[in-house]
């Protein structure tokens, strides 16, 4: 099965800086989603971008999708200490209609105050 892969695995920045995380996947998709997970908690949905969209914004989040390269990036602008978490991309499989998502391994972001 396909697997999203995030890059980098870990990222440490200062508060106020921007954080960029990348995700690559292998097969055709209907949409790509980004989730956040605080330590020891469940995942929280951040944003969904459809395969026919190239860019999407939500507050301080900006997501891009390049289906020709099978890649996506998540940009968090003006980061805050509260943004410290793990971030996962998740993709479906266009050939499947089950609603299953395949999650990447995640990027662990640390924002230092």
């Amino acid at each position: 099965s396909q697997q999203g892969e995030e890059d980098p695995q870990a990222l440490s920045i200062q508060e106020g800086e921007n954080a960029t995380m990348n995700c690559s996947y292998k097969t055709s998709i209907n949409n790509l989603q980004w989730y956040r997970q605080n330590s020891g908690r469940g995942l929280v949905h951040l944003i969904l971008i459809r395969s026919n969209e190239r860019e999407k914004h939500s507050g301080r989040l900006r997501v891009t999708l390049d289906t020709s390269k099978k890649s996506s990036s998540l940009l968090i602008t003006a980061s805050r200490a509260a943004d410290t978490a793990s971030y996962f991309c998740a993709t479906d499989e266009r050939s499947s209609n089950t609603g299953k998502l395949i999650f990447g391994q995640g990027t662990t972001l640390q924002v230092k105050p």
């Binding site: 099965s1 209907n30 949409n31 989603q33 989730y35 020891g40 908690r41 469940g42 995942l43 929280v44 949905h45 969904l48 996962f88 998740a90 479906d92 209609n97 089950t98 609603g99 299953k100 998502l101 999650f103 990447g104 391994q105 995640g106």
Partner: protein
Amino acid sequence: DVKVTQSSRYLVKRTGEKVFLECVQDMDHENMFWYRQDPGLGLRLIYFSYDVKMKEKGDIPEGYSVSREKKERFSLILESASTNQTSMYLCASSLGDWTAQFFGPGTRLTVL
């Protein structure tokens, strides 16, 4: 807001015990999912259900079974717990295919 609740945050069981993990969602979602999350392995799908009494195997169903008798409730059953089932278990639900999934807080299960 969608709320997904899981019966326990922490659970300690002994090898061979039968374990029930329950998940309830309050938004009339069609799809429900059970994942386990382990360091270095990410989230792996165990089972999912797209309707009452319907279930589909995920990527790692061995050693697990599920039950969905009511739309809002999806139970994960470990028939005979083993130490390699020590993990964080996450339940999720979604309205339909290719939509956002909403996760519960997770159950950290330790099998001794």
